[in-house]
């Protein structure tokens, strides 16, 4: 099958400005290759500072990579000019870790979810409101909540709102950059189920960025492990989880919290 997204040998240096000498440059990405098949979930797992978020920003065309290529449906993103990019952007949407910062606190839920329509000048005005309300329904945000400003919503509601906004332009790929990490367990479960349901009904492709192998195991078909700006291991979820090859993978797996076997006297009680 043709991959939806193909990243090849991607390098991103920060601090590469005029005044910085070459040794001061920080390589956030150091030759990353990755491919994502359509209608699947690929989890990108790594510890903080391993370059996951930089990769997300590069794929969403919010950062320019230093070298390497990203192709989406066979189109090289670097070859597009600003106008072509504007038309392509709706296909790739990003959901951020902290919904408190990804939603403008001055705006109401309804304004936030209809913003993509305004930006892309899609649909007529009354049509936008109808579609926005339908999106809010999808993520179970009530009409009453729609008129509230973003800062009045709970963490889970905010993240559902951010997901609704990402869905507005009917994207093919959604990058979830630690989208569940800031939420508590029950809300995480609720939203991960929402994500699975949306994937099934809309045929979405997810790039799920996380440091949590538990969540990756729950959601992903494929897992890629990142360490210090490189993908060190990738493959099907089962292979990576049950027969890890790389040291970094094993270290991360060992650090995943889990229940130990219950003491014998409790099992029979």
């Amino acid at each position: 099958m043709q991959p939806l997204l193909k990243v090849e040998n991607l390098v991103k240096h920060y601090g590469a400005g005029r005044s910085a000498r070459s040794k001061d440059k920080l390589a956030a990405l150091d030759g990353v290759s990755l491919s994502v098949l359509p209608k699947t979930t690929t989890a990108l797992v790594g510890e903080s500072g391993s370059g996951k978020s930089t990769l997300a920003l590069c794929i969403a065309c919010l950062e320019h990579p230093t070298s390497g290529s990203i192709s989406f449906e066979g189109i090289d993103l670097a070859s597009l000019d600003e106008n072509q990019l504007r038309l392509l952007r709706p296909q790739i949407q990003l959901v951020f870790q902290d919904p408190a910062s990804s939603l403008n606190p001055r705006w109401t839920a309804l304004e936030i979810v209809s913003e993509p329509f305004f930006v892309q000048r899609r649909y007529s005005k009354p049509d936008r409101a109808v579609r926005a309300l339908r999106l809010l329904d999808r993520v179970a945000i009530s009409r009453k909540m729609a008129a509230r400003s973003a800062c009045e919503l709970s963490g889970g509601q905010k993240q559902r709102l951010a997901i609704a906004r990402a869905l507005a332009l009917e994207p093919k790929l959604i990058i979830l950059d630690e989208a569940l990490s800031a939420l508590d367990c029950s809300v995480q479960a609720q939203i991960s189920n929402l994500l699975l349901e949306l994937q099934a009904s809309l045929g979405l492709t997810y790039l799920f960025i996380t440091h949590d192998f538990g969540m990756a195991a729950h959601l992903a078909d494929q897992i890629a492990v990142m360490d210090r700006g490189r993908v060190v291991e990738s493959g099907s979820a089962e292979n990576v989880l049950y027969s890890p090859n790389h040291e970094a993978t094993r270290a991360l797996l060992a650090a995943t919290p889990r229940f130990s076997e219950p003491p014998a006297e409790l099992v029979h009680a």
Partner: protein, 351 residues
């Protein structure tokens, strides 16, 4: 912890104060440039209700002043005649807010003039001159602050949003402006111009100079806000939908700068009123006979005025309520813009 004061409260106070100055023609009893050479440096006069014989009058009145015997500049009340105050009296012609022709004054007198805040060397009424002078000084402050904030916000947004070499260039320029000895620069600029300039030209010169000088500080503040705002995820998200720079600036970034700009405005206006006063005091501002708070104080440069006529200091007091109003407004705005908004909303009352 007390609830921070509402900016609206101070805004209303300021509006009232400005309203009085804007309607100076109504509140001032006389034309500010009308002279009475017979009555130089008259001290402030008192309004009475009870006369020298102990009779109560229903209408307030005053006694005209006469020279004290054996003195050439000390005055005393001449209790032989009483002159009644008339309220909402018709008097000198003026134009309300510079447009509507009118003759109505809050109060007036028939016959002898009353100097509630004394008179100056030419027998002009200090009260009227202070009220009219406020128009010049406050307008200079407001316009100067407007020019400064417009320039500062434009430059700050350009530097912060576009970054790179533009940022470097604009911020170095801002540092240069902060370091300039602008008073001497103004002397030099004034030296270029002809000796006598019209009051309007002088006024515009003052506004332009104080407006040009002050932009660096608000520009740096706005730049800081823009730098942090453009890294916010909601700006990134909007860019991710394909939003243009213009859209991002209009909808997401400029609203973030609003509270800084408003707070700066409340700080800059009194600062610039003071700047106008300094310039006019030194004779670089609005020339006579037009009054401004600065050139009213300029007579204090003469030693005999400084030691003999205390009421010539009164124009300096006029700015006090304005300063307090603006600075209270600034601190109320600043508190409103602080990150602890939720506490404010839940109305903690622990004090």
């Amino acid at each position: 912890m007390t609830r921070p004061p509402k900016p609206t409260k101070w805004l209303v106070v300021l509006l009232l104060l400005h309203g009085i100055v804007a309607a100076a023609g109504f509140f001032a009893p006389y034309d500010p440039i009308e002279q009475d050479r017979e009555r130089p440096y008259f001290p402030p006069m008192r309004i009475h209700l009870i006369d020298a014989h102990g009779h109560l009058h229903l209408r307030p009145f005053f006694y005209p002043l006469r020279l004290r015997e054996g003195s050439f500049d000390r005055y005393e009340e001449d209790t032989a005649t009483t002159i009644q105050l008339r309220f909402l009296a018709s008097g000198a012609r003026y134009r309300l807010l510079g447009v509507v022709p009118a003759r109505l004054h809050l109060f007036g007198t028939a016959g002898s003039r009353i100097y509630l805040l004394g008179s100056d060397a030419y027998g002009r009424d200090q009260l009227s001159r202070i009220l009219y002078g406020g128009q010049v000084s406050l307008l200079a402050g407001l316009l100067g602050a407007g020019v400064t904030l417009l320039l500062g916000a434009l430059i700050g947004v350009a530097a912060g949003y576009f970054g790179g070499w533009r940022d470097e260039l604009l911020m170095r320029l801002a540092e240069l402006f902060l370091a300039l000895p602008w008073l001497y620069l103004l002397f030099a600029l004034r030296a270029f111009l002809p000796l006598a300039v019209s009051p309007l030209e002088a006024f515009l010169l003052v506004v332009v100079v104080i407006g040009m000088v002050g932009w660096a500080r608000p520009a740096r503040l706005v730049r800081g806000v823009v730098l942090s705002a453009k890294e916010r995820d909601f700006v990134r998200a909007a860019r991710g939908f394909g939003a243009s720079n213009l859209y991002l600036l209009q909808r997401h970034i400029l609203p973030e700068t609003a509270s800084v700009v408003l707070t700066q405005a409340a700080i800059l206006v009194p600062q610039f009123v003071l700047a106008e006063m300094t310039l006019s005091f030194l004779g670089l501002g609005v020339p006579e006979p037009t009054s401004s708070w600065g050139n009213l104080l300029a007579t204090l440069q003469q030693y005999n005025v400084l030691v003999s006529y205390w009421w010539m200091y009164l124009p300096a007091l006029a700015i006090v309520p304005f300063f307090l109003g603006y600075l209270s407004l600034a601190s109320a705005l600043q508190e409103r813009a602080s990150p602890y908004k939720i506490e404010e909303k839940t109305n903690w009352n622990l004090s």
